[in-house]
């Protein structure tokens, strides 16, 4: 955890699930003039386009991923008392949590808008990569929704 002018800023790439209740209790207990806490939780889908998802495998390119996530939190936390972002890596099962964003601020607008900006930047700028293991094969997810079938990769196969 990093204290910055009486503010709490945190960014981590983690393996294990978090105790959400403990973090929310801690953030509220450390608040003073704040009255809003927004939490976003992204979790693994059970199916994509009607096809069952078995697992999502996340890999981060470190230390770039941790450094980038920390930079985003520093840049996007203006006006907020306490901002904490965690992204999980490793093999996750359907309905497992992936990304947690916690923001506390004096007002709800700031908290909601900050959480939204943090989420969009974390998804698009942090070098974390997602392999979707489905009933019909393995797919690299690129950007928001594009999928590349793993068995079709390899220079010979695409020539």
């Amino acid at each position: 955890m990093k204290k910055e002018a009486n503010r709490e800023l945190h960014a981590s790439i983690i393996k294990d699930e978090l105790d959400i209740r403990r973090i929310i209790d801690e953030m509220i207990s450390q608040s003073e003039e704040e009255g809003a806490l927004v939490m976003f939780l992204g979790f693994v889908k059970g199916a994509v386009d009607g096809v069952k998802v078995m697992k999502l495998k996340f890999e981060a390119y470190e230390p770039l991923a941790s450094n980038k996530l920390a930079e985003i939190v520093r840049q996007e936390s203006k006006g907020c008392k306490d901002v904490r972002v965690f992204h999980r890596v490793g093999e996750l099962n359907p309905r497992d949590p992936i990304i947690y964003i916690f923001v506390s601020a004096k007002d709800r607008h700031t908290a909601f808008e900050t959480a939204k900006r943090l989420l969009e930047r974390a998804k698009h700028e942090v070098p974390i990569f997602k392999l979707e293991v489905r009933e019909d094969g393995e797919y690299w997810v690129v950007g928001d929704n594009r999928r590349v079938k793993r068995s079709e990769l390899g220079s010979e196969k695409r020539m």
Binding site: G42, F58, E59, Y61, L64, H87, I98, I99, L119, A122, K123, H124, E125, V126, P127, I128, F129, K130, L131, W140, V141, V142, G143, D144, R146, V148, R150, L153, G154, S155, K157, R158, M159
Partner: protein
């Protein structure tokens, strides 16, 4: 054809990550280039070996990191540089 003197060449390490590692069927290799070569020259050399990489560059795009910093195609490479090719992020 003239022989290229050893000093006129540089070696850079290239890391392939995620989808690109699958595409290149390896995670790392050392590439030799003429001194003064840019990131673009490196990519052209790799594309000449892999039509798959060419397709990915055109369809999806690749992020190039040199010595830990995001780099443009005109950046000149030096002997011993560490280059990383990343696909677009897909976190969350």
């Amino acid at each position: 054809m003239m022989a290229v003197h050893e000093d006129s060449m540089i070696k850079v390490s290239v890391d392939y990550v995620a989808l690109i590692a699958d595409l290149m069927s390896k995670h790392r290799e050392i590439i030799e280039l003429p001194r003064g070569s840019s990131v673009k020259d490196l990519i052209n050399k790799l594309v000449a070996r892999s039509n798959g990489l060419k397709d990915i560059l055109q369809e999806i795009g690749v992020i190039v990191i040199v010595n830990g910093l995001s780099s443009k195609s005109n950046k000149v490479l030096n002997d011993g540089d560490k280059v990383v090719l990343l696909p677009p992020a897909s976190g969350g």
